[in-house]
């Protein structure tokens, strides 16, 4: 058991620091480690857990928690979660502190302003990429775009819109 926990840490802690631009970027690496290198599960089991992690509230990287649960129960789930979330969080904390200390300086202001257009482009590209991979093809595009329009131009609650998306898919079965 101890060896399994150490294995989980040695896989996920380095990945924590390689997660740039969001959790999506390390999915291929998690797949190869879990299925090929350590053979914790079959490919089909991985796909199942992946789908399940999309439907879990909170960050999608909770896939890692689920992989931990699958290979070693509760202790492994917690260990894997800490390994994936802690290293990058500590790094981010020190960065944020540094930021706050030099808040008014021209350099920090230039970096903040300069990062904003890059962030906007990345959010849009990330959204497009997920949409392209989404289940349901044209139905997924339609639901996503209608939801966006409602969010931009009406005051309908986002929770209601999510539920509507679910209902549309149950009826249409794309």
């Amino acid at each position: 058991m101890i060896i399994l926990l150490l294995d989980l840490i040695s896989v996920f802690a380095p990945l924590s620091l390689l997660t740039i631009g969001g959790g999506q970027s390390i999915i291929p690496a998690i797949h190869s480690q879990a299925v090929d290198v350590h053979q914790w599960m079959s490919n089909a089991e991985f796909i199942e857990l992946f789908a399940l992690s999309r439907l879990t509230p909170g960050p999608k990287t909770l896939l890692v928690t689920m992989i931990g649960w699958h290979v070693g129960g509760f202790a492994a789930a917690i260990t894997a979660s800490i390994a994936i979330f802690l290293p990058s969080s500590v790094l981010m904390y020190y960065l944020v502190r540094l930021w706050a200390r030099h808040k008014g300086s021209v350099l920090i202001r230039a970096i903040s302003q300069g990062l904003a257009p890059v962030a906007a482009g990345m959010v849009l590209a990330g959204t497009g990429t997920i949409l392209r991979a989404a289940e349901g093809g044209a139905w997924a595009w339609a639901v996503a775009i209608m939801t966006t329009a409602c969010l931009l131009y009406t005051r309908i609650s986002p929770l209601l819109l999510l539920a509507l998306g679910g209902v549309v898919f149950i009826v249409a079965r794309p």
């Binding site: 590209a125 989404a134 998306g165």
Partner: protein
């Protein structure tokens, strides 16, 4: 440190609960979109400029965006403790939910329609991210160069499939240099004005 309308930053408990609720309603994705709606629009704990600055940092540095953003926002609200509490709020309830869901998964999967409902929910959740992207693009479009950078970033990732690390490595320094140059120019124009008057 940020002040709410009442003049007091929110309590650690309030921060924990706010992030826990955001995490738990964000089924299907679009977490940063939920965070923006709740923290900027509804609670007004941070301004949209502060939030988007944090979002850009959260994306540019290693880590899950939503967690990095929780650390950023928590820190703005109540320093190191705020950051810790916001992160725990984001993670502890959702880790518990993940374990609960994976342990009853085999039963859940047999209910007909569940699969479609969840796919539809995820599609709607993509709409949340899209709204956020549109908002971020609008906010950052302060001149020709920022617009070009946003478009180039989008195209290189979405259309040309460039790796994120490369895009960050190239676009970020260019964009920061452009912002720097713009500020210097604005600063110089301002001091010219002062000397003229």
């Amino acid at each position: 440190m940020n002040q709410t309308e009442a003049g007091q930053p929110p309590s650690l408990y309030a921060i924990f609960m706010a992030f826990a609720l955001i995490a738990l309603v964000s089924v299907g994705g679009g977490l940063s979109g939920w965070m923006m709606r709740d923290l900027v629009t509804r609670r007004q704990w941070v301004t949209s400029d502060e939030f988007l600055g944090g979002l850009a940092l959260a994306q540019a540095f290693p880590g899950i965006n939503a967690v990095n953003l929780a650390i950023w926002t928590g820190y703005q609200l109540r320093g190191g403790r705020g950051a810790a509490v916001a992160t725990l709020g984001m993670l502890v309830p959702s880790i518990a939910a993940a374990i609960a869901i994976v342990s009853v998964f085999s039963e859940l999967n047999h209910i007909p329609g569940v699969h479609y409902a969840l796919a539809g929910l995820s599609a709607a959740a993509i709409g949340l991210s899209l709204e956020m992207g549109i908002f971020a693009a609008r906010q950052s479009m302060t001149g020709l160069l920022p617009v070009l950078i946003t478009v180039a970033t989008f195209l290189s990732i979405f259309v040309f499939g460039a790796s994120l690390a490369w895009v960050i490595a190239v676009a970020t320094p260019c964009s920061i240099a452009a912002a720097w140059w713009h500020m210097k120019k604005a600063g110089r124009a301002e001091s010219d004005d002062h000397s003229a008057t």
